[in-house]
């Protein structure tokens, strides 16, 4: 209770401080608009269908990219992670490709697909893929040796070993990767719209800036922040729910 109250107080303080800066004339309201104006803009937009359409464009790009990246990463990650030979052979390649900033690929994607959703998807998938892929590779290789030997003594079939040994071991890793990938995919979805110009919230941000609409710009930035917050909360919840049996979650519960 104390935490919630203090948190709300902090938020209120931030908003009041923001309101005071243009009111006292520290920064011209043209560059930093009043909070009240931005909140008013938000309430107005929430009733506007065009706003929700833009939001749905962004979220569609996000969800499509995340799904494609996750699928590819799970298939490739499990395939490579389970075979030591492949794991060794691909190591250098992975270490070299992973740190390549995905935004470096924007020009290439634009040349290949034009100013379209598909160009944005290239960037989103590339960035989100590595987050899941690396976790899955670690995950499937992390099977406890005692458990593995036990499974061998019981002569579990290949399918049984995958189901009862590899999957439970890799699941926490996969979900961590998924949570990281969801956040990264949202960043790149908005960024792609800003730079490439496919329709969505990011493009609206860029348009508001070039039109000098500071209120709309700050409002849209706040919306993307809230979206990011929502994505984080949802994926953390999913992670905790589906790993309720796992030691890390159990220990956390016991410590409370």
């Amino acid at each position: 209770m104390r935490k919630v109250l203090l948190g709300a107080l902090g938020l209120l303080g931030f908003l009041v401080g923001w309101q005071l800066i243009p009111t006292l004339g520290l920064v011209d309201p043209q560059y930093l608009p009043y909070v009240t104006d931005v909140l008013g803009w938000l309430f107005h937009e929430l009733r506007d269908l065009a706003f929700w359409r833009r939001l749905s464009y962004t979220m569609t790009a996000w969800a499509t990219g995340l799904a494609m990246a996750t699928f590819a990463a799970v298939v490739l990650g499990a395939g490579i992670g389970l075979v030591p030979f492949l794991r060794r052979a691909t190591h250098t390649m992975v270490e070299f490709l992973r740190p390549v900033p995905s935004v470096a690929l924007i020009p290439l994607a634009v040349l290949m697909f034009g100013l379209h959703l598909r160009a944005a998807l290239v960037i989103i998938v590339y960035a989100a893929f590595w987050q899941v892929f690396v976790q899955v590779i670690y995950g499937v290789a992390d099977v406890d040796t005692v458990a593995r030997d036990t499974a061998r003594s019981f002569r579990l079939t290949r399918r049984e070993r995958l189901r009862y040994l590899v999957l439970p071991t890799a699941l926490p890793y996969l979900l961590t990767g998924l949570r990281l990938a969801a956040a990264v995919a949202l960043i790149l979805a908005v960024t792609a719209e800003m730079v490439i110009g496919n329709p969505g919230l990011g493009r609206m941000i860029e348009l508001s800036r070039s039109a000098g609409d500071a209120v709309g710009l700050y409002g849209l930035v706040a919306v993307t922040g809230l979206l990011g917050l929502l994505v984080n909360v949802v994926f953390r919840f999913v992670e905790r729910r589906s790993l309720a049996w796992h030691q890390s979650v159990l220990a956390e519960g016991a410590a409370r």
């Binding site: 104390r2 935490k3 203090l6 948190g7 709300a8 107080l9 902090g10 938020l11 303080g13 931030f14 920064v27 560059y31 060794r88 052979a89 691909t90 190591h91 250098t92 390649m93 270490e95 070299f96 490709l97 992973r98 740190p99 390549v100 900033p101 935004v103 470096a104 690929l105 924007i106 020009p107 290439l108 634009v110 040349l111 290949m112 040796t145 956040a183 949202l186 960043i187 908005v190 960024t191 800003m194 730079v195 990011g202 941000i205 860029e206 508001s208 800036r209 500071a214 710009l217 700050y218 849209l220 930035v221 993307t224 922040g225 809230l226 979206l227 990011g228 917050l229 994505v231 984080n232």
Partner: protein
């Protein structure tokens, strides 16, 4: 596992094993480049150019005055932004981590700023600061500081209670406490934060230049793309990739040095 180990032990000498390691490390990259070269030689797609053409473009484009005019200023801004983020993030993180009241006041705000996609801050900073080099550095800081700040807070909070009480009973001074207890205890988490900040900072460096600049790496690459200079564009992607890889390698070295005691400790507890 034992069967594999036995087979390996029978290999004649360490030379063969070194050869095997090199083959594993370089096999796939070399194969990929070869296949790429063969395929691009027969391909009529003008957006895929061969590795040799890209290398040639790389030499022509980046080695020479462009390195001083475009690459160095970008790297300088990146370094400046990163150093400022680390100083700011660690300093604020130590303060917030140690004061419970402050932490609880700021928690929702910090969660919000962590979740905010960093590139949306570029238009905001352009509005507030104009299109300047200061703006580009501030953009990098405004995105890269959050992972460091939040990880430092967590690291400071998780300081071992026995060590804290020991420090209390020895009555060490505030500064000694900070240098000898709080910062070392938080350093594994701080390094995690810095690693996340590296990639964010690199992204922001590129995008802030693609957006609002007439020089710099990001600007150059976008320029090549708009003018259909395909080989030059590929060479720019290659350069950005190299910078990303070098940053990761450099960070790995620094981390190993800073956290040597930590990795050593983990090995002991495992053994």
């Amino acid at each position: 596992m034992t069967a594999l180990g036995a087979k390996k032990a029978r290999l004649p000498g360490p030379v063969l094993r070194a050869v095997e390691n090199v083959l594993f490390a370089l096999g796939l990259p070399v194969l990929t480049v070869l296949l790429w070269g063969i395929w691009s030689a027969g391909s009529t797609n003008r957006f895929f150019v061969g590795p040799l053409t890209i290398l040639d473009a790389f030499r022509r484009t980046w080695i020479g005055p462009a390195f001083v005019d475009d690459v160095l200023p970008s790297l300088y801004r990146l370094a400046l932004g990163l150093v400022a983020s680390i100083l700011l993030g660690v300093a604020a993180g130590v303060v917030i981590g140690r004061l419970r009241l402050l932490r609880e006041l700021l928690e929702p705000l910090l969660e919000f700023f962590r979740a905010l996609p960093p590139p949306v801050l570029i238009p905001v900073m352009m509005l507030l600061l104009g299109i300047t080099d200061t703006m580009r550095v501030v953009v990098i800081v405004s995105g890269a500081v959050w992972p460091i700040l939040l990880n430092t807070i967590d690291g400071v909070r998780a300081t071992d209670s026995v060590m804290r009480e020991t420090a209390d009973s020895f009555r060490i001074t505030r500064w000694e406490r900070l240098w000898l207890l709080v910062l070392p205890a938080a350093s594994p988490r701080i390094m995690t934060g810095v690693r996340q900040a590296l990639s964010v900072a690199l992204i922001l460096m590129v995008i802030s230049e693609m957006f609002a600049s007439s020089a710099g790496l990001g600007y150059r690459i976008a320029y090549f793309q708009r003018n259909y200079l395909v080989a030059e564009m590929w060479s720019g992607i290659l350069l950005l990739g190299l910078i990303g890889v070098l940053l990761a390698v450099a960070f790995g070295l620094v981390e190993r040095r800073v956290l040597r005691w930590y990795h050593g400790m983990k090995e002991i507890t495992r053994a």
